[in-house]
Amino acid sequence: MSPTLEASGIHKYFGGVKAVQGVSLTLGGGRIVGLIGPNGSGKSTLLNVLAGVEKPTKGTVTVDGRRVDRWPAHRMVGLGIAKTHQIPKPFLAMTGRENVAVAMMYGRRREAEPAAALEESLRILALVGLEGRADTPASNLSVQQRKRLEFARALATGASLLLLDEIFAGLSPEELRDAISLFTRVQKELGFGALVVEHVMQAVMTLSDHVVVIEEGRKIAEGSPKEVVENPAVIEAYLGTEATDAAP
Protein backbone atom coordinates (compact mmCIF):
# COMPACT_ATOMS: atom_id res chain seq x y z
CA MET A 1 0.00 0.00 0.00
CA SER A 2 1.46 3.31 -0.96
CA PRO A 3 1.73 6.01 1.70
CA THR A 4 -0.57 9.01 1.59
CA LEU A 5 1.32 12.23 1.08
CA GLU A 6 -0.49 15.45 1.78
CA ALA A 7 0.95 18.82 0.94
CA SER A 8 -0.96 21.88 2.06
CA GLY A 9 -0.31 25.52 1.36
CA ILE A 10 3.22 24.98 0.07
CA HIS A 11 5.18 28.15 -0.57
CA LYS A 12 8.78 28.18 -1.73
CA TYR A 13 10.70 31.42 -2.22
CA PHE A 14 14.23 31.80 -3.50
CA GLY A 15 15.12 35.31 -2.35
CA GLY A 16 12.63 37.48 -4.23
CA VAL A 17 11.52 34.72 -6.58
CA LYS A 18 8.27 33.15 -5.46
CA ALA A 19 8.57 29.78 -7.17
CA VAL A 20 5.63 28.08 -5.48
CA GLN A 21 2.78 29.97 -3.85
CA GLY A 22 0.26 28.06 -1.80
CA VAL A 23 -0.14 24.77 -3.66
CA SER A 24 -1.94 21.87 -1.97
CA LEU A 25 -2.27 18.35 -3.25
CA THR A 26 -2.78 14.78 -2.09
CA LEU A 27 -0.97 11.72 -3.41
CA GLY A 28 -1.31 8.05 -2.63
CA GLY A 29 -3.43 4.96 -2.99
CA GLY A 30 -1.72 3.86 -6.16
CA ARG A 31 -3.05 6.85 -8.09
CA ILE A 32 -1.08 8.47 -10.88
CA VAL A 33 -1.31 12.22 -10.56
CA GLY A 34 -0.04 14.40 -13.38
CA LEU A 35 1.48 17.79 -12.63
CA ILE A 36 1.62 20.08 -15.63
CA GLY A 37 2.31 23.73 -16.24
CA PRO A 38 4.29 26.00 -18.55
CA ASN A 39 8.05 26.39 -18.27
CA GLY A 40 9.17 27.94 -15.00
CA SER A 41 5.80 27.46 -13.34
CA GLY A 42 7.35 25.80 -10.28
CA LYS A 43 6.73 22.13 -11.05
CA SER A 44 10.23 20.91 -10.29
CA THR A 45 10.49 23.09 -7.21
CA LEU A 46 7.25 21.67 -5.86
CA LEU A 47 8.54 18.17 -6.52
CA ASN A 48 11.77 18.95 -4.69
CA VAL A 49 9.82 20.18 -1.67
CA LEU A 50 7.74 17.01 -1.62
CA ALA A 51 10.89 14.86 -1.87
CA GLY A 52 12.68 16.68 0.94
CA VAL A 53 15.35 18.11 -1.36
CA GLU A 54 14.14 21.66 -0.56
CA LYS A 55 12.48 22.89 2.62
CA PRO A 56 9.22 24.79 2.07
CA THR A 57 9.21 28.48 3.04
CA LYS A 58 5.65 28.03 4.30
CA GLY A 59 3.22 25.14 4.38
CA THR A 60 3.33 21.55 5.53
CA VAL A 61 3.95 18.12 4.07
CA THR A 62 2.65 15.07 5.91
CA VAL A 63 3.01 11.39 5.12
CA ASP A 64 0.35 9.19 6.70
CA GLY A 65 -0.28 12.04 9.13
CA ARG A 66 3.36 12.58 10.06
CA ARG A 67 4.93 16.01 9.53
CA VAL A 68 7.93 15.50 7.24
CA ASP A 69 8.63 18.88 5.63
CA ARG A 70 11.91 19.33 7.57
CA TRP A 71 13.17 15.86 6.74
CA PRO A 72 16.20 15.40 4.50
CA ALA A 73 15.72 13.58 1.20
CA HIS A 74 17.37 10.34 2.29
CA ARG A 75 14.89 9.91 5.15
CA MET A 76 11.94 10.33 2.80
CA VAL A 77 13.21 7.29 0.92
CA GLY A 78 12.75 5.31 4.14
CA LEU A 79 9.03 6.18 4.02
CA GLY A 80 8.76 4.67 0.57
CA ILE A 81 8.92 7.92 -1.40
CA ALA A 82 11.55 8.25 -4.13
CA LYS A 83 12.27 10.95 -6.68
CA THR A 84 13.90 10.84 -10.08
CA HIS A 85 15.87 13.73 -11.51
CA GLN A 86 14.86 15.75 -14.53
CA ILE A 87 18.37 15.32 -15.91
CA PRO A 88 19.28 11.71 -15.10
CA LYS A 89 22.05 11.43 -12.52
CA PRO A 90 23.48 7.95 -12.95
CA PHE A 91 26.62 6.99 -11.01
CA LEU A 92 28.78 7.11 -14.11
CA ALA A 93 31.67 5.01 -12.86
CA MET A 94 29.37 2.20 -11.75
CA THR A 95 27.63 -0.41 -13.89
CA GLY A 96 23.88 -0.43 -14.44
CA ARG A 97 23.54 -3.24 -11.98
CA GLU A 98 25.62 -1.49 -9.32
CA ASN A 99 23.58 1.67 -9.76
CA VAL A 100 20.43 -0.26 -8.96
CA ALA A 101 22.14 -2.17 -6.15
CA VAL A 102 22.89 1.11 -4.32
CA ALA A 103 19.17 1.90 -4.29
CA MET A 104 18.43 -1.59 -3.06
CA MET A 105 20.92 -1.39 -0.20
CA TYR A 106 20.09 2.13 0.97
CA GLY A 107 16.41 2.42 0.06
CA ARG A 108 13.50 1.10 2.07
CA ARG A 109 14.55 -2.52 1.55
CA ARG A 110 17.92 -1.97 3.22
CA GLU A 111 19.38 -5.10 1.68
CA ALA A 112 22.53 -5.80 3.71
CA GLU A 113 24.36 -8.11 1.32
CA PRO A 114 25.90 -6.55 -1.82
CA ALA A 115 25.85 -9.93 -3.57
CA ALA A 116 22.12 -10.35 -2.99
CA ALA A 117 21.43 -6.76 -4.06
CA LEU A 118 23.42 -7.22 -7.29
CA GLU A 119 21.49 -10.40 -8.01
CA GLU A 120 18.12 -8.79 -7.41
CA SER A 121 19.12 -5.73 -9.47
CA LEU A 122 18.97 -7.85 -12.62
CA ARG A 123 15.26 -8.40 -12.08
CA ILE A 124 14.59 -4.65 -11.76
CA LEU A 125 16.72 -3.91 -14.82
CA ALA A 126 14.74 -6.49 -16.75
CA LEU A 127 11.52 -4.71 -15.76
CA VAL A 128 12.67 -1.57 -17.56
CA GLY A 129 14.30 -3.41 -20.44
CA LEU A 130 17.89 -2.72 -19.44
CA GLU A 131 18.97 -6.27 -18.56
CA GLY A 132 21.34 -6.24 -21.54
CA ARG A 133 23.21 -3.26 -20.06
CA ALA A 134 23.57 -4.64 -16.54
CA ASP A 135 27.35 -4.81 -16.62
CA THR A 136 27.98 -1.73 -18.77
CA PRO A 137 29.30 1.36 -17.01
CA ALA A 138 26.49 3.91 -16.78
CA SER A 139 28.69 6.40 -18.64
CA ASN A 140 28.13 4.32 -21.79
CA LEU A 141 24.33 4.54 -21.65
CA SER A 142 22.27 6.71 -24.02
CA VAL A 143 19.94 9.42 -22.71
CA GLN A 144 16.95 7.15 -23.09
CA GLN A 145 18.72 4.35 -21.24
CA ARG A 146 19.81 6.73 -18.50
CA LYS A 147 16.20 7.76 -18.01
CA ARG A 148 15.23 4.11 -17.65
CA LEU A 149 18.06 3.53 -15.20
CA GLU A 150 16.88 6.52 -13.18
CA PHE A 151 13.41 4.97 -13.07
CA ALA A 152 14.80 1.53 -12.19
CA ARG A 153 16.79 2.96 -9.29
CA ALA A 154 13.71 4.70 -7.89
CA LEU A 155 11.80 1.40 -8.10
CA ALA A 156 14.68 -0.47 -6.49
CA THR A 157 14.51 1.66 -3.36
CA GLY A 158 11.27 -0.21 -2.67
CA ALA A 159 9.30 3.01 -2.97
CA SER A 160 5.56 2.81 -3.45
CA LEU A 161 5.16 6.50 -4.20
CA LEU A 162 7.34 7.86 -6.99
CA LEU A 163 7.96 11.50 -7.76
CA LEU A 164 8.94 11.49 -11.42
CA ASP A 165 10.45 14.63 -12.91
CA GLU A 166 9.97 14.68 -16.68
CA ILE A 167 10.92 11.09 -17.32
CA PHE A 168 9.26 11.27 -20.74
CA ALA A 169 10.93 14.47 -21.93
CA GLY A 170 13.38 14.52 -24.82
CA LEU A 171 12.33 11.20 -26.35
CA SER A 172 11.51 10.57 -29.99
CA PRO A 173 7.86 9.67 -30.80
CA GLU A 174 8.65 5.93 -30.92
CA GLU A 175 10.71 6.09 -27.76
CA LEU A 176 7.87 7.94 -26.08
CA ARG A 177 5.36 5.30 -27.09
CA ASP A 178 7.66 2.58 -25.76
CA ALA A 179 8.27 4.48 -22.55
CA ILE A 180 4.57 4.99 -21.92
CA SER A 181 3.72 1.34 -22.46
CA LEU A 182 6.67 0.33 -20.28
CA PHE A 183 5.52 2.63 -17.52
CA THR A 184 1.97 1.30 -17.68
CA ARG A 185 3.17 -2.30 -17.61
CA VAL A 186 5.48 -1.76 -14.62
CA GLN A 187 2.85 0.25 -12.78
CA LYS A 188 0.31 -2.55 -13.23
CA GLU A 189 2.83 -5.08 -11.96
CA LEU A 190 4.06 -3.16 -8.93
CA GLY A 191 1.05 -0.95 -8.22
CA PHE A 192 2.91 2.15 -7.09
CA GLY A 193 1.40 5.61 -6.93
CA ALA A 194 3.16 8.48 -8.62
CA LEU A 195 3.30 12.18 -9.20
CA VAL A 196 4.31 12.65 -12.82
CA VAL A 197 5.70 16.07 -13.63
CA GLU A 198 5.54 16.45 -17.36
CA HIS A 199 5.71 18.71 -20.34
CA VAL A 200 4.64 16.05 -22.77
CA MET A 201 0.84 16.34 -22.77
CA GLN A 202 0.37 13.01 -24.49
CA ALA A 203 2.10 11.17 -21.63
CA VAL A 204 0.23 13.00 -18.88
CA MET A 205 -3.16 12.59 -20.50
CA THR A 206 -2.65 8.88 -21.15
CA LEU A 207 -1.26 7.94 -17.76
CA SER A 208 -2.86 10.18 -15.19
CA ASP A 209 -5.93 9.47 -13.12
CA HIS A 210 -5.92 13.05 -11.97
CA VAL A 211 -4.16 16.16 -13.27
CA VAL A 212 -3.03 19.28 -11.41
CA VAL A 213 -2.13 22.38 -13.40
CA ILE A 214 0.07 25.10 -11.97
CA GLU A 215 1.08 28.44 -13.41
CA GLU A 216 3.48 30.92 -11.85
CA GLY A 217 3.57 28.83 -8.69
CA ARG A 218 -0.20 28.72 -8.21
CA LYS A 219 -2.64 25.91 -8.83
CA ILE A 220 -5.03 27.04 -11.56
CA ALA A 221 -6.96 23.85 -12.21
CA GLU A 222 -7.30 20.19 -11.33
CA GLY A 223 -9.48 17.28 -12.25
CA SER A 224 -9.59 14.38 -14.66
CA PRO A 225 -7.41 14.75 -17.78
CA LYS A 226 -10.51 15.52 -19.85
CA GLU A 227 -11.81 18.21 -17.49
CA VAL A 228 -8.42 19.85 -17.39
CA VAL A 229 -7.89 20.16 -21.14
CA GLU A 230 -11.30 21.74 -21.50
CA ASN A 231 -10.70 24.23 -18.70
CA PRO A 232 -10.43 27.79 -20.19
CA ALA A 233 -7.84 28.83 -17.59
CA VAL A 234 -5.57 25.97 -18.69
CA ILE A 235 -5.95 26.77 -22.37
CA GLU A 236 -5.11 30.37 -21.61
CA ALA A 237 -2.03 29.44 -19.60
CA TYR A 238 -0.73 27.27 -22.39
CA LEU A 239 -1.80 29.15 -25.46
CA GLY A 240 -2.50 32.74 -24.43
CA THR A 241 -5.79 34.71 -24.30
CA GLU A 242 -6.55 34.84 -28.03
CA ALA A 243 -6.83 31.09 -28.11
CA THR A 244 -9.50 31.24 -25.40
CA ASP A 245 -11.44 33.83 -27.35
CA ALA A 246 -11.19 31.80 -30.51
CA ALA A 247 -12.40 28.64 -28.81
CA PRO A 248 -16.11 27.98 -29.38
Binding site: A51, V77, H85, K89, L92, A93, E113, P114
Partner: protein, 314 residues
Protein backbone atom coordinates in the same frame (compact mmCIF):
# COMPACT_ATOMS: atom_id res chain seq x y z
CA UNK B 1 16.38 -17.15 3.23
CA UNK B 2 19.97 -16.73 2.19
CA UNK B 3 22.99 -17.35 4.33
CA UNK B 4 25.36 -14.40 4.52
CA UNK B 5 28.31 -14.93 2.22
CA UNK B 6 31.82 -14.98 3.58
CA UNK B 7 33.80 -11.98 2.43
CA UNK B 8 36.24 -12.72 -0.36
CA UNK B 9 39.79 -11.66 0.33
CA UNK B 10 41.56 -10.49 -2.80
CA UNK B 11 45.19 -10.68 -3.90
CA UNK B 12 45.90 -7.01 -3.05
CA UNK B 13 44.96 -7.65 0.54
CA UNK B 14 46.98 -10.88 0.62
CA UNK B 15 49.95 -9.12 -0.93
CA UNK B 16 49.87 -6.18 1.44
CA UNK B 17 49.11 -8.36 4.45
CA UNK B 18 51.86 -10.82 3.55
CA UNK B 19 54.46 -8.09 3.05
CA UNK B 20 53.50 -6.48 6.34
CA UNK B 21 53.76 -9.82 8.16
CA UNK B 22 57.14 -10.47 6.58
CA UNK B 23 58.37 -6.99 7.56
CA UNK B 24 57.06 -7.51 11.07
CA UNK B 25 58.87 -10.82 11.31
CA UNK B 26 62.27 -9.65 10.12
CA UNK B 27 62.18 -6.21 11.78
CA UNK B 28 64.29 -7.21 14.84
CA UNK B 29 67.15 -8.15 12.51
CA UNK B 30 67.08 -5.00 10.39
CA UNK B 31 70.08 -2.73 11.19
CA UNK B 32 69.23 0.55 12.90
CA UNK B 33 69.82 2.94 10.00
CA UNK B 34 67.61 1.19 7.41
CA UNK B 35 65.05 0.54 10.14
CA UNK B 36 64.73 4.26 10.83
CA UNK B 37 64.28 4.94 7.12
CA UNK B 38 61.65 2.21 7.01
CA UNK B 39 59.82 3.68 10.02
CA UNK B 40 59.79 7.07 8.33
CA UNK B 41 58.39 5.53 5.15
CA UNK B 42 55.70 3.68 7.08
CA UNK B 43 54.67 6.84 8.94
CA UNK B 44 54.06 8.52 5.60
CA UNK B 45 52.25 5.46 4.27
CA UNK B 46 50.03 5.52 7.37
CA UNK B 47 49.27 9.20 6.75
CA UNK B 48 48.52 8.47 3.09
CA UNK B 49 46.13 5.67 4.05
CA UNK B 50 44.38 7.96 6.51
CA UNK B 51 43.89 10.68 3.88
CA UNK B 52 42.78 8.02 1.40
CA UNK B 53 39.81 7.23 3.67
CA UNK B 54 38.25 10.63 3.08
CA UNK B 55 39.84 12.14 -0.03
CA UNK B 56 40.44 8.91 -1.90
CA UNK B 57 37.06 7.35 -1.18
CA UNK B 58 34.73 10.35 -1.35
CA UNK B 59 36.67 12.78 -3.56
CA UNK B 60 36.58 15.52 -0.88
CA UNK B 61 40.06 17.02 -1.22
CA UNK B 62 41.32 17.80 2.27
CA UNK B 63 44.27 20.21 2.40
CA UNK B 64 43.94 20.44 6.15
CA UNK B 65 44.84 16.86 6.96
CA UNK B 66 48.08 18.00 8.62
CA UNK B 67 45.91 19.35 11.47
CA UNK B 68 45.12 15.85 12.68
CA UNK B 69 48.74 14.88 12.42
CA UNK B 70 49.67 17.95 14.48
CA UNK B 71 46.97 17.21 17.04
CA UNK B 72 48.42 13.71 17.40
CA UNK B 73 51.95 15.09 17.72
CA UNK B 74 50.95 17.64 20.36
CA UNK B 75 48.94 15.05 22.29
CA UNK B 76 52.02 12.86 22.45
CA UNK B 77 54.21 15.81 23.41
CA UNK B 78 51.85 16.88 26.17
CA UNK B 79 51.26 13.43 27.59
CA UNK B 80 54.94 12.49 27.62
CA UNK B 81 56.31 15.81 28.90
CA UNK B 82 53.60 16.97 31.28
CA UNK B 83 51.70 13.82 32.21
CA UNK B 84 54.82 11.61 32.20
CA UNK B 85 53.06 8.88 30.18
CA UNK B 86 54.72 6.22 28.09
CA UNK B 87 54.80 7.39 24.43
CA UNK B 88 52.42 4.56 23.48
CA UNK B 89 49.79 6.19 25.69
CA UNK B 90 50.59 9.42 23.88
CA UNK B 91 49.91 7.80 20.51
CA UNK B 92 46.56 6.52 21.77
CA UNK B 93 45.69 9.92 23.20
CA UNK B 94 46.71 11.50 19.88
CA UNK B 95 44.35 9.21 17.98
CA UNK B 96 41.47 9.96 20.33
CA UNK B 97 42.02 13.73 20.38
CA UNK B 98 42.31 13.81 16.60
CA UNK B 99 39.08 11.83 16.37
CA UNK B 100 37.27 14.42 18.48
CA UNK B 101 38.81 17.33 16.56
CA UNK B 102 37.96 15.76 13.21
CA UNK B 103 34.35 15.24 14.27
CA UNK B 104 34.17 18.92 15.15
CA UNK B 105 35.85 20.17 11.98
CA UNK B 106 34.03 17.69 9.74
CA UNK B 107 30.60 18.58 11.12
CA UNK B 108 31.18 22.09 9.75
CA UNK B 109 33.40 21.77 6.68
CA UNK B 110 31.72 18.69 5.17
CA UNK B 111 28.67 20.85 4.50
CA UNK B 112 30.69 22.43 1.70
CA UNK B 113 31.29 20.61 -1.53
CA UNK B 114 34.03 20.48 -4.12
CA UNK B 115 36.27 23.54 -4.28
CA UNK B 116 34.51 25.14 -1.32
CA UNK B 117 35.37 22.19 0.92
CA UNK B 118 38.98 22.34 -0.27
CA UNK B 119 39.17 26.06 0.59
CA UNK B 120 37.56 25.55 3.98
CA UNK B 121 40.01 22.72 4.68
CA UNK B 122 42.94 25.02 3.83
CA UNK B 123 41.94 27.35 6.64
CA UNK B 124 42.04 24.71 9.40
CA UNK B 125 45.87 24.40 9.71
CA UNK B 126 46.14 28.21 10.00
CA UNK B 127 43.53 28.22 12.75
CA UNK B 128 45.19 25.26 14.49
CA UNK B 129 48.60 26.90 14.41
CA UNK B 130 47.31 30.15 15.89
CA UNK B 131 45.47 28.32 18.67
CA UNK B 132 48.57 26.34 19.62
CA UNK B 133 50.71 29.50 19.63
CA UNK B 134 48.72 30.98 22.53
CA UNK B 135 47.97 27.88 24.62
CA UNK B 136 49.86 28.01 27.92
CA UNK B 137 49.50 24.24 28.40
CA UNK B 138 51.50 23.73 25.21
CA UNK B 139 54.30 26.07 26.34
CA UNK B 140 52.84 29.13 24.58
CA UNK B 141 53.90 27.87 21.19
CA UNK B 142 57.56 27.47 22.13
CA UNK B 143 57.38 23.85 21.11
CA UNK B 144 57.97 20.78 23.24
CA UNK B 145 61.32 19.05 23.38
CA UNK B 146 61.05 15.41 24.35
CA UNK B 147 63.62 13.06 25.72
CA UNK B 148 62.20 9.63 25.13
CA UNK B 149 64.43 6.59 24.86
CA UNK B 150 65.78 5.80 21.39
CA UNK B 151 63.74 2.70 20.52
CA UNK B 152 63.31 2.28 16.75
CA UNK B 153 61.79 -1.17 17.16
CA UNK B 154 58.93 0.18 19.29
CA UNK B 155 58.35 2.91 16.71
CA UNK B 156 58.31 0.29 14.02
CA UNK B 157 55.77 -2.00 15.66
CA UNK B 158 53.49 0.89 16.62
CA UNK B 159 53.29 2.26 13.08
CA UNK B 160 53.10 -1.31 11.76
CA UNK B 161 49.94 -1.96 13.78
CA UNK B 162 48.44 1.36 12.64
CA UNK B 163 49.00 0.53 8.96
CA UNK B 164 47.64 -2.98 9.34
CA UNK B 165 44.48 -1.54 10.91
CA UNK B 166 44.16 1.03 8.11
CA UNK B 167 44.59 -1.51 5.32
CA UNK B 168 42.09 -3.87 6.93
CA UNK B 169 39.54 -1.12 7.49
CA UNK B 170 39.93 0.29 3.99
CA UNK B 171 39.32 -3.17 2.59
CA UNK B 172 36.33 -3.80 4.80
CA UNK B 173 34.76 -0.43 3.98
CA UNK B 174 35.30 -0.59 0.22
CA UNK B 175 34.16 -4.18 -0.23
CA UNK B 176 30.87 -4.14 1.62
CA UNK B 177 27.57 -2.32 1.56
CA UNK B 178 29.28 0.85 2.79
CA UNK B 179 31.52 0.87 -0.26
CA UNK B 180 28.54 1.16 -2.59
CA UNK B 181 27.13 4.10 -0.68
CA UNK B 182 30.53 5.81 -0.65
CA UNK B 183 31.08 5.32 -4.37
CA UNK B 184 27.61 6.70 -4.97
CA UNK B 185 28.48 9.82 -2.95
CA UNK B 186 31.73 10.26 -4.85
CA UNK B 187 29.90 9.93 -8.15
CA UNK B 188 26.85 12.11 -7.44
CA UNK B 189 25.97 13.12 -3.92
CA UNK B 190 22.45 14.38 -4.72
CA UNK B 191 21.54 11.21 -6.56
CA UNK B 192 22.93 9.17 -3.66
CA UNK B 193 20.73 11.05 -1.19
CA UNK B 194 17.67 10.56 -3.37
CA UNK B 195 18.23 6.81 -3.13
CA UNK B 196 18.41 6.88 0.65
CA UNK B 197 22.15 7.18 1.27
CA UNK B 198 22.71 9.19 4.45
CA UNK B 199 25.55 11.17 2.90
CA UNK B 200 26.27 13.54 5.81
CA UNK B 201 26.70 10.63 8.27
CA UNK B 202 28.77 8.52 5.93
CA UNK B 203 31.12 11.40 5.11
CA UNK B 204 31.54 12.31 8.77
CA UNK B 205 32.26 8.68 9.63
CA UNK B 206 35.06 8.54 7.05
CA UNK B 207 36.39 11.96 8.03
CA UNK B 208 36.54 10.92 11.70
CA UNK B 209 38.31 7.66 10.84
CA UNK B 210 40.83 9.55 8.72
CA UNK B 211 41.40 11.97 11.60
CA UNK B 212 41.88 9.14 14.08
CA UNK B 213 44.58 7.43 12.03
CA UNK B 214 46.33 10.68 11.09
CA UNK B 215 46.42 11.52 14.80
CA UNK B 216 47.97 8.17 15.66
CA UNK B 217 50.57 8.51 12.88
CA UNK B 218 51.29 12.10 13.98
CA UNK B 219 51.92 10.82 17.50
CA UNK B 220 54.44 8.27 16.24
CA UNK B 221 56.05 10.97 14.12
CA UNK B 222 56.57 13.21 17.18
CA UNK B 223 57.89 10.22 19.11
CA UNK B 224 60.54 9.55 16.42
CA UNK B 225 61.55 13.21 16.06
CA UNK B 226 61.68 13.74 19.85
CA UNK B 227 59.85 17.00 19.72
CA UNK B 228 56.90 19.06 18.50
CA UNK B 229 57.25 22.58 17.14
CA UNK B 230 54.27 24.61 15.99
CA UNK B 231 55.39 25.85 12.59
CA UNK B 232 56.77 22.44 11.66
CA UNK B 233 53.76 20.53 13.02
CA UNK B 234 51.20 22.56 11.07
CA UNK B 235 53.34 22.78 7.93
CA UNK B 236 51.05 22.51 4.89
CA UNK B 237 53.82 20.64 3.09
CA UNK B 238 52.74 17.51 4.98
CA UNK B 239 49.21 17.83 3.59
CA UNK B 240 50.58 18.29 0.10
CA UNK B 241 52.92 15.30 0.39
CA UNK B 242 50.05 13.09 1.57
CA UNK B 243 47.91 14.29 -1.34
CA UNK B 244 50.79 13.66 -3.73
CA UNK B 245 51.08 10.09 -2.45
CA UNK B 246 47.45 9.18 -3.01
CA UNK B 247 47.25 11.00 -6.35
CA UNK B 248 50.34 9.18 -7.62
CA UNK B 249 49.36 5.78 -6.21
CA UNK B 250 45.68 5.93 -7.02
CA UNK B 251 42.88 7.58 -5.03
CA UNK B 252 40.55 5.28 -3.19
CA UNK B 253 42.51 2.11 -3.95
CA UNK B 254 43.94 -0.36 -1.47
CA UNK B 255 47.48 -0.50 -2.86
CA UNK B 256 47.72 3.08 -4.11
CA UNK B 257 48.68 4.87 -0.88
CA UNK B 258 51.51 2.39 -0.22
CA UNK B 259 52.90 2.69 -3.75
CA UNK B 260 52.55 6.47 -3.62
CA UNK B 261 54.28 6.64 -0.23
CA UNK B 262 57.22 4.58 -1.53
CA UNK B 263 57.59 6.70 -4.67
CA UNK B 264 57.32 10.04 -2.87
CA UNK B 265 59.73 8.85 -0.18
CA UNK B 266 62.32 7.65 -2.68
CA UNK B 267 62.09 10.85 -4.73
CA UNK B 268 62.26 12.87 -1.56
CA UNK B 269 65.40 11.17 -0.25
CA UNK B 270 67.18 11.10 -3.59
CA UNK B 271 66.65 14.74 -4.58
CA UNK B 272 67.05 16.04 -1.03
CA UNK B 273 70.56 14.60 -1.16
CA UNK B 274 71.25 16.44 -4.43
CA UNK B 275 70.02 19.85 -3.35
CA UNK B 276 67.61 20.81 -0.56
CA UNK B 277 64.28 21.90 -1.99
CA UNK B 278 64.60 20.17 -5.36
CA UNK B 279 62.64 17.19 -3.99
CA UNK B 280 59.47 19.29 -3.82
CA UNK B 281 59.95 20.55 -7.38
CA UNK B 282 60.33 16.99 -8.64
CA UNK B 283 57.38 15.62 -6.63
CA UNK B 284 55.27 18.54 -7.84
CA UNK B 285 56.19 17.77 -11.44
CA UNK B 286 55.34 14.10 -11.00
CA UNK B 287 51.94 15.00 -9.54
CA UNK B 288 51.23 17.35 -12.47
CA UNK B 289 52.18 14.71 -15.02
CA UNK B 290 50.06 12.05 -13.26
CA UNK B 291 47.08 14.38 -12.88
CA UNK B 292 47.28 15.34 -16.55
CA UNK B 293 47.80 11.97 -18.15
CA UNK B 294 46.60 9.32 -15.70
CA UNK B 295 44.31 11.12 -13.23
CA UNK B 296 43.33 7.83 -11.61
CA UNK B 297 46.89 7.25 -10.43
CA UNK B 298 49.06 4.21 -11.01
CA UNK B 299 46.77 1.58 -9.51
CA UNK B 300 43.56 3.17 -10.79
CA UNK B 301 44.89 3.37 -14.33
CA UNK B 302 46.31 -0.15 -14.43
CA UNK B 303 42.98 -1.43 -13.22
CA UNK B 304 41.10 0.53 -15.85
CA UNK B 305 43.14 -0.41 -18.89
CA UNK B 306 44.33 -3.92 -18.07
CA UNK B 307 41.18 -5.96 -17.47
CA UNK B 308 43.18 -8.93 -16.19
CA UNK B 309 44.43 -6.79 -13.30
CA UNK B 310 40.95 -5.82 -12.20
CA UNK B 311 40.58 -8.86 -9.98
CA UNK B 312 44.01 -8.41 -8.49
CA UNK B 313 44.08 -4.68 -7.80
CA UNK B 314 41.19 -3.67 -5.60
Amino acid sequence: MKLPKLPVYGPSLWGLGGSLLLLGGVAPWIPVFPLIILVNLLIFAALAYSLNLITGLTGYVNFGHVVFMAVGAYSLGYSVETLRWHPLGGVALGALTALVVSLGIGAVTLRFRGVYFAIASLVTPLAGLNIVLVLPALDDGQGIVLNPAFEPLSWFYTIWIIIAAEVGLTYWITHGRLGYGIRAIKSDEDAAKSLGVNAPHLKLFLFALSGLFAGAAGGVYAWTTSGVFPYAAFDLTFSLLMLAMIVIGGMGTLLGPMIGAVIVNLLSRFFLAIFIGTQFIIIGLVVIVIALFIPEGIVGTLRKYVPELRRILE
